[in-house]
Amino acid sequence: MALLELINVNKHFGGLEVVHDLSLVVNPGEIVSLIGPNGAGKTTVFNLITGLYTPDRGDIRLDGASLLGLEPHQITRRGIARTFQSLRLFLNMSVIENVTSAAFFRCSSNLAQIVLRTPGFKREEARIRAQAEDKLAFFGERLKGYRFDQPAYSLSYANRRRLEIARAMMTEPKLLLLDEPAAGMNPNETLEVTEVIGELRTRGGYTILLIEHDMKVVDGISDRVVALDYGEKIAEGSYHDVATNERVIEAYLGRKAAITK
């Protein structure tokens, strides 16, 4: 059964149809890439899935259960976590706290336990901390050791991107939504991100839906590619199929350029 299903989803802002009759399926264990020119509605699709927007029509299902009407934090609880295109870290908190804070809904200590520092509370804190260190260890040596207690704003851009992924992992999702994880990175870093995404599936066991402009990344890891333009799905299939699809080329380059090519 499909993990995530979008069924004829529509969304408009005023007169502007941002997502039009979009149907999309992500199966467990897959890496699916969402591509399309700027303004095609890719991030809007993410916002719809995570509950920041509600669709005007259509249904969004996780494991067959509809997500409509749930608040964003409830959707996260059901097993969808995301990163943001323009980073949204908790800049003035430490690296480790950025990650541990995402375990909020998995913490069960009540006020009395917290104020009295009961053994149960201490165990839970230690467990959460260990899990967070575990998630950060996914990125090798970069976010380890003394870095744990540094404020997030002291990190480099690439490390911030990694930290955001670690934070999303901490909610223990089934499905990870990555919004341009390689944006603003140099070729080496891009290569590494590609590897990390691959490992997120193999070692982490996450299913991944990805927005990416960098075709090297998309080509390297996608099982399937979905191309959007003006909120509509214009192509779907393997990277090769989509990359050579006429409508996709047209959407990226314009009609004239596409014909002369």
């Binding site: 995570t50 920041l52 608040e71 964003p72 934090h73 996260t76 609880r77 976590a81 995301r82 943001f84 949204r88 870290l89 908790f90 800049l91 003035n92 908190m93 706290e97 950025n98 541990t100 804070s101 995402a102 375990a103 909020f104 809904f105 913490c107 200590s109 006020l111 917290i114 104020v115 520092r117 509370f121 804190e125 959460i128 050791g145 003394y146 870095r147 540094q150 404020p151 704003y153 002291s154 934070r167 999303a168 901490m170 909610t171």
Partner: protein, 497 residues
């Protein structure tokens, strides 16, 4: 500057760069002492400070001093409560003082002859905490959709409404009675409240309330500190940093906002109840906007988000205005502050000392010159040192210091006119000086400038201590906010990066 001789191996690595603060803090004996203090476990530091607070009443028997320090504990508790809402959750709540007032009035109604209800204090305080929480939720719920400035305006409205209700709920017309119902006592407030009494022991002296407030502060600090170290604290701060990301990471931001409102309100409510029992009366103007601004000044001065910071801010802004109440004492503080600033802020240190000597010398020369040319212009010192029998040694010392200063400075016969002129001159001179680039001339110019400042102080400011102390505190806040916008103990925050 020569590079340090042996560079550590890690020099220049990220790890080395990240430890810049730790290396900087090491300098001087103050820094070393601070580092030694900071290395102690937090519980030791907490208990140590608590112990210091607990032995003060054993050493000092003046009710006045205990009242001032007790008020400092009271405001520190309020500041810690406000810090939950503003510092952790990042919600600008300008109605906070209303919860303080609400607690005080609730206690007044439950423990006085006003409606002839006399509940045991533990029950009254429990109810006060409950009412505080309930109203925190009530005020919080319509505010949930408001962000930033809008939330501030709406909550400010709540605060103002509270004062108006306090003033006007003394004549409420009710359908079941012909005489209007008097709930709050209007501007006359409610008086003759029961003192706090627990299991047969009644708190009657200032020292009793001093300890009650200290214990309550300790409890609140402990609870808030531990709450902040838990997943709730992390979620509050995450919400302050980025509410949308917090929500997307599974934190129920609505409930967390309400929870922070309710926590702050409960703390403020119980503090208000203790305050009401202490002064045995409540009046609407105890909870007006002035108190609110005062409270915010404490939180901002100490450092938003830092528990020791906001407590320190409350202490400073309670104690310093009291110290500045007497002209003699405030004179001592003023000159001591100037001298210390000169010696510690100007590098190299000998320049600071040179300026100090220069100012004293300039004063003497001017004084002698004017006395020689026109002795009629100079007035003798206006201060008299009081007799031994009616004053303490400290008072006499500060009075003698005053006489000394007035013999040094050129005190004119007509201080008002000369002082006003000098004041008008001083303000642009200070502003111009502040805009100059650092240079030898700038340091040298400090000599006449500081003399002018002392002149204005002696002729005008020390004559009006009530105005002067506000001016001084205002100046202090402005200077602090320029040089240390995060407050005394606050952590530097990055808004955009």
């Amino acid at each position: 500057m020569n590079p340090p001789e042996a560079l550590p191996e890690k020099f220049g690595t990220d790890e080395w760069v990240a430890q810049v603060d730790a290396r900087r803090a090491g300098g001087g004996w103050i820094g070393k002492l601070g580092a030694r203090w900071g290395a102690l476990p937090i519980s030791w530091r907490f208990l140590g400070l608590l112990l210091v607070g607990a032995i003060i009443p054993l050493l000092i028997h003046s009710d006045y001093v205990l009242r001032v320090i007790g008020t400092a504990w009271l405001f520190a508790t309020l500041a810690v409560g406000l810090n939950v809402v503003v510092g952790y959750a990042g919600l600008l709540d300008l109605g906070f003082i209303a919860f303080y007032g609400l607690g005080a009035y609730t206690y007044a109604l439950l423990s006085s002859g006003h409606f002839n209800v006399h509940l045991p204090s533990w029950l009254a305080l429990l109810i006060v905490a409950g009412v505080g929480m309930a109203f925190g939720l009530l005020l919080g719920s319509p505010s949930l959709r408001l962000l930033g400035d809008y939330l501030a305006i709406v909550t400010l409205g709540f605060g103002l409404v509270f004062v108006q209700l306090g003033l006007n709920l003394d004549r409420l017309n009710v359908p079941w009675s012909n005489t209007p119902l008097n709930i709050t006592g209007g501007s006359n407030g409610i008086i003759n409240l029961d003192p706090l009494h627990f299991f047969g022991f009644s708190l009657s002296t200032v020292a009793n309330y001093y300890y009650a407030l200290l214990v309550w502060l300790a409890i609140v600090l402990l609870v808030i500190y531990r709450l902040n170290q838990s997943h709730f604290g992390r979620a509050w701060r995450a919400m302050r940093e980025d509410p949308l990301a917090a929500e997307a990471m599974g934190m129920p931001t609505r409930r967390l906002k309400l929870f922070s409102f309710a926590t702050g309100a409960a703390v403020a409510g119980v503090t208000g109840a203790i305050f009401a029992a202490w002064q045995q009366s409540v009046f609407p103007n105890n909870f007006d906007t002035n108190s609110l601004i005062n409270l915010y000044a404490m939180v901002v001065l100490g450092g938003v988000g830092s528990l020791p910071g906001v407590s320190l801010g409350a202490g400073i802004l309670t104690v310093v205005p009291e110290l500045l109440r007497s002209p003699e004492l405030s004179r001592v503080i003023f000159y001591m502050g100037l001298a210390l600033a000169l010696v510690f802020l100007i590098r190299p240190r000998r320049n600071g000392l040179a300026v100090l000597v220069g100012v004293v010398g300039l004063g003497l020369i001017l004084r002698l010159a004017v006395q020689a040319v026109a002795p009629g212009l100079v007035s003798p010192p206006t201060i008299e040192v009081a007799a031994v029998s009616i004053s303490s040694g400290f008072e006499r010392a500060s009075q003698s210091f005053g006489v000394l200063v007035q013999r040094w400075i050129l005190l004119p016969k007509d201080p008002n006119t000369a002082g006003n002129l000098a004041y008008v001159l001083l303000v642009p001179a200070l502003l111009a000086w502040a805009r100059m680039k650092p240079s030898r001339w700038r340091t040298l110019l400090l000599v006449p400038l500081l003399y002018l400042l002392s002149f204005v102080w002696e002729t005008r400011l020390s004559a009006e201590p009530a105005i002067t102390r506000l001016l001084l505190i205002g100046t202090l806040l402005v200077i602090l906010m320029i040089f240390r916008p995060q407050g005394l103990l606050g952590a530097r925050r990055v808004e955009i990066a």
